[in-house]
């Protein structure tokens, strides 16, 4: 059963063509993450799904219904905004119950759902407060609570964690994952943080310039990127792209190697000089300038005593490297 189906969705703002022929499906209970660089149209796509913007063409199906002409409140969705967007003059309780009141739900149902959601999000003691009297993390939870009480068919999150500090972000990320498991609801989550994407998603949709670049599970995209953009976007530190430092590459081809797949080896094919060392305790990252003048990152597991200025040889497993042609598409190995 599909929760959402987009077919050839386009969106233009006047002459600006923002979404280009987007087709994708979200299965019931699936956690789908949209990632992509800033300005690629993630928020716009989410707003089109929510009905806050009309699609210029294409069909949007939520559950079994085509919803192109259905107003946001009747689409069976709930949205959590990056800026929280809580109603400033209403208490936490009223913030959560407003949508249900508008639907005309009986008071008992409203009270029950609000108390259930506030228990789940540990917001009970804050119910009478106004948003101004809450911390950032609490506001974010209220915004999530406001979405939960509506019991939507589809949750939409637009970068819900980007206003939180690192520790809180980690906690809330875990909470959202737990929420997904508890509610087993379909969720679409927009982020440009690839760690959030990798850790939360059942399925990642990589967008660039209003186009879908690749769709797949996190490990799929990590192990089998379709092109140089996807390869470079996922993984941290990001993939190294070499044109000159490795012998045996045809002109115009690029070799992509992830920093964790490079190793210090005396017989390695790449030689260069260490220009910077980051010691993280668990990992050590080296920045290396190759003899051919290309910069690459090496991620060594554990601690390593290589110093800046050292001359090193790097080797890699050719199976773990990707080749890309002139137009940045992946060249698949002939014999696989």
């Amino acid at each position: 059963m599909t929760a959402l189906k987009l077919e050839n969705v386009n969106k233009s703002f006047g002459p600006v063509h923002v979404l280009k022929d987007i087709s994708l499906t979200v299965e019931k209970g699936e956690f789908v993450v949209f990632v992509g660089p800033s300005g690629c149209g993630k928020s716009t796509l989410l707003r089109v799904i929510a009905g806050l913007e009309d699609a210029s063409s294409g069909t949007i199906t939520i559950g079994d219904d085509v919803v192109n002409a259905v107003p946001p409140a009747k689409r069976g969705i709930a949205m959590v905004f990056q800026s929280y967007a809580l109603y400033p003059h209403l208490s936490v309780k009223d913030n959560m119950s407003l949508g249900l009141k508008q639907e005309g739900q009986p008071k008992s149902v409203i009270a029950e759902r609000v108390s259930k959601a506030s228990k789940m999000l540990e917001l009970e003691q804050y119910l009478p407060r106004r948003p101004a009297e809450l911390s950032g993390g609490q506001r974010q939870r209220v915004a999530i609570g406001r979405a939960i009480v509506r019991e939507p068919k589809l949750f939409l999150f637009d970068e819900p964690l980007s206003n939180l500090d690192a520790a809180l972000r980690m906690n809330t990320r875990v909470e959202i994952a737990a929420l997904h498991r508890t509610l087993s609801a379909s969720m679409i989550y927009v982020t440009h943080d690839q760690i959030e994407a990798m850790t939360l998603a059942d399925k990642i949709v990589v967008l660039r310039d209003g186009r879908v670049e690749q769709v797949g599970s996190p490990m799929d995209l990590y192990n089998n990127p379709a092109n140089r953009f996807v390869a470079g976007f996922l993984g941290s530190p990001s993939m190294n792209f070499l044109e000159r430092s490795v012998p045996g590459l045809a002109a115009g081809q690029t070799l992509g190697i992830r920093p964790e797949h490079l190793a210090l080896r005396a017989d390695g094919q790449i030689s260069g000089e260490v220009t910077h060392v980051e010691r993280l305790g668990g990992d050590t990252n080296l920045l290396v300038s190759t003899d051919q003048g290309e910069i690459l990152t090496v991620r060594l597991f554990g601690q390593n005593d290589t110093d800046v200025g050292a001359h090193i040889q790097l080797g890699f497993d050719p199976e773990m490297a990707f080749r890309f042609d002139q137009s940045d598409n992946r060249i698949l190995p002939l014999a696989a």
Binding site: L52, I77, F81, S83, P131, A132, R139, R146
Partner: protein
């Protein structure tokens, strides 16, 4: 340390300037008030002296009260001011919201057209307005004044309010849409409370010129039963003799209602409830 001393120095300077300005601004009001409680002779003998046992007199207020129609004038002024302000704020805010929120053909053009009135004084059209009022039978009614003042106040109201409404977070309005609020509810329940300070500014800007206006009451509604306070007070100013006691007393009483309205609006200016809405 040095830093604190310097800031307290600038604070004192700023306060000195503000207090100086306040004194200058309030001085005429003060002179009107004290002289309204003095005998005619005392007013001219020592205009700046406070009323004492000798010079104290309520004669001005008595004259004004005896004039009988004073309360009617007062009531007329109140009706005209309050109804005009309400209409300016209501229609101004609605037009501003439409301009700020919705993308439609001719949006910019419409905005410019509505703002045009800021640059063209409405009094230029007095003759045409009078003709219009005569042919529609509105001469000597309060409606005539209300319509003119509403038209006069709208351009600036639309201009100021649309700027503020563009600043209201889109996410908040969208959250309302997803929660099923109608566009009217979003406007009245989410947007208006957030632009309350701007509404108060517009109200204060419009209130005083309307209350004080002599021009349109004189031309459009000079009849006894629709006279405004400003126009009504003119009976005490004669070509040859002016009843200064009465004029000063009438003016003193005319200050009160505007002051009350001002206090109400300026409270709104200060109260900020936006914090915590977004971010």
């Amino acid at each position: 340390m040095n830093m604190t001393r310097r800031t307290s120095g600038t604070t004192i300077a700023a306060h000195a300037v503000l207090i100086g300005y306040t004194l200058i601004a309030l001085f005429p009001v003060f002179v009107i008030l004290i002289n309204s409680f003095k005998t005619r002779k005392a007013i001219f003998r020592e205009p700046l002296a406070l009323p004492d046992a000798d010079s104290f007199s309520m004669i001005g207020y008595e004259t004004v009260m005896k004039q009988g129609d004073f309360f009617l004038y007062f009531q007329n002024s109140m009706i005209v001011t309050i109804v005009s302000l309400t209409l300016i704020l209501l229609f101004g805010a609605m037009a501003a919201y439409a301009l700020a929120e919705y993308r439609f053909k001719g949006n910019t053009l419409m905005g410019l057209y509505l703002a045009l009135g800021i640059m063209i004084p409405i009094r230029i059209g007095t003759v045409a307005i009078l003709e219009m009022m005569v042919s529609s039978g509105l001469v000597n009614t309060l409606t005539a004044l209300i319509l003119v003042y509403t038209a006069q106040g709208l351009p600036l109201a639309v201009f100021i309010l649309s700027t503020f409404m563009k600043g209201v977070s889109d996410d908040l309005k969208n959250a309302g849409r997803i929660d099923g609020l109608s566009e009217y509810k979003i406007f009245f329940r989410l947007v208006l409370p957030l632009v309350r300070p701007a509404m108060a500014t517009v109200a204060v800007f419009n209130m005083i010129p309307i209350w004080n206006d002599l021009w349109f009451p004189l031309i459009l509604a000079p009849a006894e039963e629709v006279k405004t306070l400003t126009l009504g007070s003119q009976v005490f100013i004669g070509q040859f003799v002016t009843d200064w006691n009465a004029v000063l007393s009438a003016l003193s009483m005319a200050i009160l209602p505007v002051m009350i309205l001002y206090v109400i609006f300026s409270r709104q200016l200060i109260r900020g409830i936006t914090s915590g809405a977004v971010k």
